[in-house]
């Protein structure tokens, strides 16, 4: 049976849902091993066993987080060698993709990013050109490296859980020599709202908000949604850059995307047009956003949004 290696970076106390998804995909492809950097709690080891991981590879060095990407790729390459993996799965975060990139060169392995599904033969499915095409791709090399998007499968524990064996992998001595060093790190305050990239509902605002994100935030909270924004709104400093949706921000595929005071420029569409349902509120009937909206309201968002928020609260009460 093929061996599959899943990279888990700093799992924390409990494994994230996206990690459980990777483990679920891994089991569909072969026998699972994991390579874990950072603290690993007993609970997390238990979950790894429950999801069918037979082996846990740990790095011999504890300072991988002090550097950008490169030493993690070196560790993962060593773990891949040791496990005999023919497929390596990583998270599709910017850092996950870059570790995948460097791992690919180290293993002479084809890398496919932004994967949404993997067939048993290793064929990967993804969409390209801002969601206008769906493609399948396959590595032609002995090893395949895939970075997989979150929310693509339902996590499912193994039928027969096991207790994984832990093995240490030597991180090559030169792994940090030519690596950029992280000299300081500032934690950001959490918003308390769902994470934008995997939220079920996103309410996004643009230049039309004219500096006041209140109506968008209140509607988002009534719906339990994440808050997004156009670049015009983040550039103006009305909301953090983390909220930007689009080509140079986040790509989101929620069940529902409500766009308010956003014109719908191509770079904005690139990040949201794979949403299941799109609702747009804009006072200009000619706005391109209406070309892709399932339900469009030509009107003033300062009227429409608060009214909708009140109505939702009423119906939920």
């Amino acid at each position: 049976m093929a061996n599959v290696l899943v990279f888990i970076d700093n799992p924390g106390q409990a494994l994230k849902k996206s990690t459980l998804e990777l483990l679920t995909i891994a089991r569909s492809l072969g026998e699972t091993a994991v390579a874990v950097n950072g603290e690993l709690s007993d609970d997390a080891v238990g979950t790894l066993g429950a999801y069918g991981a037979a082996t846990v590879f740990r790095p011999s060095a504890a300072d991988l987080d002090d550097y950008l990407v490169a030493p993690k790729a070196a560790f993962l390459a060593a773990a891949a060698d040791k496990s005999g993996a023919t497929t390596v799965l990583l998270e599709n975060s910017p850092e996950g993709k870059e570790i995948a990139a460097r791992l690919g060169i180290r293993l002479s392995a084809g890398v496919i990013t932004d994967v949404v599904a993997v067939d048993p033969d290793g064929t990967a499915h993804k969409s390209v050109l801002a969601g206008s095409y769906t493609t399948t791709a396959k590595a032609t090399t002995a090893v395949t490296v895939l970075s997989v998007k979150a929310n693509t499968v339902d996590p499912e524990p193994a039928t027969a859980p096991g207790a994984p064996e832990t093995l240490t992998v030597d991180v090559p001595a030169d792994a940090t020599a030519a690596a950029a060093r992280i000299t300081s790190r500032e934690q950001k305050v959490a918003s308390g709202r769902p994470d934008l990239t995997d939220a079920r509902i996103v309410v996004a605002g643009g230049r039309g908000l004219d500096g006041d994100f209140g109506p968008v935030e209140e509607l988002a909270d009534a719906l339990g949604a994440a808050v997004g924004a156009s670049r015009a709104a983040t550039d103006a400093g009305w909301i953090s850059h983390d909220a930007q949706v689009g080509q140079t921000g986040k790509t989101v595929s929620p069940q529902l995307y409500i766009s308010a005071g956003i014109s719908g420029a191509i770079q904005q569409k690139a990040g949201m047009q794979t949403a299941k349902v799109i609702v747009a509120v804009n006072k200009d009937a000619e706005s391109p956003v209406f070309e892709i909206a399932d339900f469009g309201i030509v009107g003033d968002l300062f009227q429409v949004l608060p009214q909708a928020t009140e109505e939702i609260k009423k119906r939920k009460a």
């Binding site: 060169i105 050109l129 493609t135 509120v281 608060p306």
Partner: protein
């Protein structure tokens, strides 16, 4: 006075996203009829120009070399870069390069960067955060790995001083500062600066700037290492997604907020 810099900026010629973009041919590659300099590479070019200008510009011996790999038309991305202010252009072009994936692209670009550093070393390779067609962000990391250089990616600010580069990076949960020694590969985001437009003087000056054309033989790469033959991934099928169509559009008559909630309820989204 700070030391002068020799900077290579990677610029890609990509299909203009303002028009419909298509995949075609055996390898399902992008059609390049209406192509432009990838917008995200303008930020890398601007960052390079600012670093050079802070050190006395071209007159003081600073070099900003715009390097593009691509078919004949890719020379337009280089010309635009020269108009904006790059000091010279290099066009890596060869029929065998067609269909290169990120691994093959990074192999060819690494060889080109080594070639450009053969006489005087390159201090910095600057790239965009992603190409606007491929959108993988693989090339900068793979280039750094292949060249054995430090990788500083997604920089939203950048300083070079005393043979070191420092940058700020923003992630969802944290921001960090990173530091590396030169030479290094640095990719920059669209938050780093406000790219300038070419002005009339720049357009005239660009006509006198040189563009060197390199083939695979010039950089010592065998044709089997690149293109479809040298790529490690293959696109096996591509299907155009039916474009989204407009649904119901209403004009607010004082109750659109309620109608919006009715719609959400009907879609079972409440």
């Amino acid at each position: 006075m700070e030391e002068t810099l020799k900077i290579v900026v990677l610029v890609k010629h990509v299909p203009d996203a303002q028009f419909d973009r298509h995949l075609s041919g055996e390898g399902h590659t992008t059609d390049r009829d209406e192509s432009i300099l990838s917008e995200l590479d303008e930020y890398a070019l601007e960052a390079a120009l600012q670093l050079a200008e802070a050190r006395g510009g071209a007159k003081a011996g600073n070099k900003v070399i715009a390097l593009s790999m691509g078919p004949a038309g890719a020379v337009n991305a280089i010309k635009k870069s020269l108009q904006i202010g790059a000091t010279e252009g290099v066009h890596l072009t060869d029929a065998a390069l067609a269909g290169s994936d990120a691994a093959a692209t990074s192999l060819a670009l690494a060889a080109a960067v080594r070639h450009l550093g053969a006489d005087t070393p390159v201090d910095l390779v600057l790239t965009g955060m992603a190409s606007t067609d491929g959108e993988t962000s693989l090339v900068p990391a793979q280039l750094a790995e292949r060249l054995g250089l430090p990788q500083v990616t997604f920089a939203s600010s950048l300083d070079v001083d005393g043979g070191r580069v420092s940058a700020r990076r923003d992630a969802d949960t944290h921001s960090e500062t990173v530091e590396a020694s030169l030479p290094a590969v640095v990719s920059v985001t669209d938050q780093i600066n406000e790219p300038r437009y070419p002005n009339f003087k720049g357009i005239i000056a660009a006509k006198r700037k040189s563009i060197t054309t390199l083939s695979l033989a010039d950089i010592g790469v065998d044709s089997s290492q690149v293109g479809h033959a040298g790529s490690w991934t293959r696109v096996t099928a591509a299907e155009e997604r039916p474009p989204r169509t407009a649904g119901t559009i209403i004009t607010d008559e004082g109750d659109a907020g309620i109608k919006l909630v009715d719609f959400l309820a009907a879609q079972k989204l409440l």
